[in-house]
């Protein structure tokens, strides 16, 4: 009974979702704010509790940190949505349904990172698709709806692969319980195939090459708060499932498979960033690049894993900040094309300055924690592999850094803003707070290390 306390964040968001449907004016907004605050509070409370491993729950340091990131971005996204939704002229559905789905989306993510059963983690991650597909299509134009459809069909197909993987794992071992599988599991071809297929399947949801094609489409067209929560926590939740599979069967072949996928993801994303004309798609590829690094870190384990978690938290906060601010820019410039956006700093000083800093943060500029996370991963990479491959990764990271920051810098600093008086009542304080928190993550590294002690072996 005591263990069910770990359901608190999930219950808060789920109750919030149900109450959103009540026919009371503006109740959906108030309830969503309360539910997200309560979920955040309950996660903080859970951080003080011991790790728990039962037949139902698997909540260790990694799960706790994921819960914290989800709760933070859930709260930030609800707060930012309050202002942003007013600027959607022709929404596909009423705000009530938006908040209902957003709360359910958070519920499915809380569920996914708390369960012990791989099958239930799959159910949770598939539920994130069900709850978020309509959120993508909120703005209700043909391109947005097409991107939502691509999201549904590509991600669901990928998740069928991970369902097959789950079948293989269960068929080979007779259990789907993570803690049992970590203690003992068969060492045969079926089990290995299950793990590898699972990595590909969940990798689809995490935006890992070669099943990443939905990611730029969705991030490019979804409303700013939805892009933010997708990039900040949805991708890491799918990576969480991958991390658990790696943890279960940490063979060299699994490691090499993940490192290869990770390097390819970083490389493809970096190269794609250099040809982007759309700032939202550019930030989407930046998320893909970061997820590639996180996967490499998870595969390497030890300080690589620490680096991955640091990137997840810091990137989640900074990237959500960047995506929220793209919403401010879109509302004033009415275009996502880079060549249409100039002089943001003159038109919207707070937005311009913050988005530039956020783009520096997500591309790994010091002193933001993404930089520290990348250093941890590269250090572990050199320790386990060699300098040449590490140099290749550094080259990709440098390409991404230049591509994103030069383009963002041009948007912010160069030229003059359009001659219109349209001023967006922007919610700049939410992205600013997220960016400050992202900068502060570097101070929390010792605490994160302590939480992950059993995983990194320190």
């Amino acid at each position: 009974m005591q263990e069910n306390i770990h359901l608190l964040p999930l219950l808060c968001s789920f109750t919030g979702a149900l109450l959103c449907l009540l026919p009371v004016r503006s109740f959906d907004k108030i309830i969503s704010v309360i539910a997200s605050l309560a979920a955040f509070g309950s996660v903080i409370f859970l951080l003080t509790k011991e790790n728990i491993v039962t037949d139902t729950y698997y909540i260790d340091g990694l799960s706790k940190l994921l819960l914290l990131t989800i709760a933070l971005l859930y709260l930030a996204t609800v707060l930012y949505s309050l202002a942003y939704l007013k600027h959607i002229l022709n929404p596909l559905f009423k705000n009530k349904l938006y908040y209902f789905l957003l709360n359910l989306f958070a519920t499915s993510m809380f569920f996914s990172v708390s369960m012990d059963n791989i099958g239930l983690i799959w159910v949770g991650i598939e539920a994130t698709t069900v709850t978020s597909a309509l959120l993508v299509a909120t703005e209700n134009d043909q391109v947005t709806v097409e991107s939502a459809w691509r999201y549904v069909i590509i991600v669901s197909t990928g998740l069928v692969i991970s369902l097959i993987a789950t079948t293989f794992i269960y068929g080979a071992s007779g259990t789907l319980s993570m803690h049992e599988l970590m203690l003992h599991h068969p060492n045969n071809r079926v089990f290995l195939l299950g793990i590898l297929l699972g990595l590909i399947g969940f990798g689809t949801k995490a935006g890992i090459f070669p099943m990443h094609t939905w990611l730029p489409d969705v991030h490019g067209k979804a409303p700013a708060p939805v892009s933010a929560i997708f990039s900040g926590v949805l991708l890491p939740v799918a990576l969480y499932a991958m991390a658990r599979l790696i943890q279960i069967h940490n063979l060299p072949v699994v490691k090499i498979f993940c490192v290869t996928l990770g390097i390819l993801t970083v490389g493809v994303a970096a190269l794609m960033m250099t040809v982007q004309n759309n700032y939202k798609r550019m930030f989407a590829y930046s998320s893909m690049e970061n997820m590639g690094m996180v996967l490499i870190g998870f595969a390497l384990g030890k300080y690589g894993l620490l680096g991955s978690v640091v990137i997840i938290i810091s990137h989640g906060l900074a990237k959500s900040s960047a995506f929220y601010l793209t919403g401010n820019i879109l509302s004033v410039y009415h275009s996502t094309a880079l060549h249409d956006v100039h002089g943001v700093l003159k038109k919207m000083p707070a937005t311009g300055f913050t988005i530039f800093l956020a783009s520096m943060a997500v591309t790994g500029a010091p002193p933001f924690a993404v930089f520290a996370g990348e250093l941890f991963i590269l250090k572990e990479f050199v320790h386990q592999y060699n300098w040449w491959l590490a140099l290749l990764i550094i080259c990709f990271l440098a390409i991404a850094f230049i591509a994103v920051n030069v383009r963002t810098g041009r948007m912010v600093f160069s030229g003059n803003p359009p001659d219109n008086n349209r001023v967006f009542r922007s919610e700049t304080w939410v992205p600013v707070i997220n960016l400050i928190l992202s900068a502060l993550v570097i101070l929390l590294i010792p605490y994160i290390e302590k939480l992950l002690a059993n995983l990194i072996g320190s």
């Binding site: 099958g119 799959w122 159910v123 309509l134 391109v143 069928v160 068929g171 789907l176």
Partner: protein
């Protein structure tokens, strides 16, 4: 019993081949519904051959008939009716592959599935016709890739899910009931959400034509 399973597997492959060659959307939905009934029959037979797990498999068969065989086709047909005046005439005008090409590719996929299975998993699993679910999965992938019509792509995805039910029941003795039930619930939710998205998508394409290609490039 193994031979009955093989016959059911053969029927499922034939039905998927028919879906591959069919251009009318409502007939593809009907073929999917029939294939779901066959999957349910398979689960019932599996239940009778495994006395310990019989009840759960019967419940699962019931859920399969209810959701995949009835509810999902009804939802998809309703979506068709709400969008088109003559829903029975809705068709995929320009499939990426002609009938001849799709016959060849489908047969190649069945053979490919067989060879991959024989050379990788048969050694461990020792089930002669274990390649059937893999062939079904590959066929369904072809259906998704070769069609542009969202309804037919959705049917391809659902056939994939049926292949997984076959795989888990036949080759690996099933998944835990809570996972199977969760998967069915997710599937139902996904179909409801997808049918909404498809309706808006097809409506926009009917009014404006395909204008999305340029913005979603790169």
């Amino acid at each position: 019993m193994e031979q009955i399973f093989q016959i059911l597997g053969f029927f499922l492959i034939v039905l998927t081949l028919l879906m591959q060659w069919e251009i009318y959307v409502n007939r593809v939905i009907l073929l999917f519904s029939i294939s779901s009934f066959i999957v349910a029959l398979f689960l019932v037979l599996l239940g009778t051959s495994k006395p310990g797990e019989g009840t759960l498999l019967f419940v699962l068969a019931g859920l399969t008939v209810f959701t995949r065989g009835l509810i999902i086709p009804i939802i998809m047909n309703r979506a068709l009716h709400s969008l088109y005046k003559k829903p029975w005439r809705v068709r995929e005008d320009k499939p990426a592959m002609g009938v001849g090409g799709s016959i060849l590719v489908s047969l190649a996929l069945i053979l490919g599935g067989y060879f991959i299975y024989q050379n990788s998993l048969y050694e461990v699993l020792k089930i002669k016709s274990g390649s059937v679910p893999f062939a079904l999965f590959l066929q369904a992938s072809l259906l998704i890739i070769s069609r542009k019509n969202a309804y037919i792509q959705m049917m391809g995805f659902l056939v994939m899910e049926n292949a997984v039910v076959m795989l888990s029941g036949w080759v690996f003795s099933g998944l835990p009931f809570i996972v199977e039930a969760g998967a069915i619930l997710d599937l139902l939710g996904l179909v409801v959400v997808s049918s909404l998205i498809i309706r808006v998508r097809e409506g926009a394409i009917m009014q404006e034509g395909d204008i999305y290609e340029k913005e979603l490039r790169g």
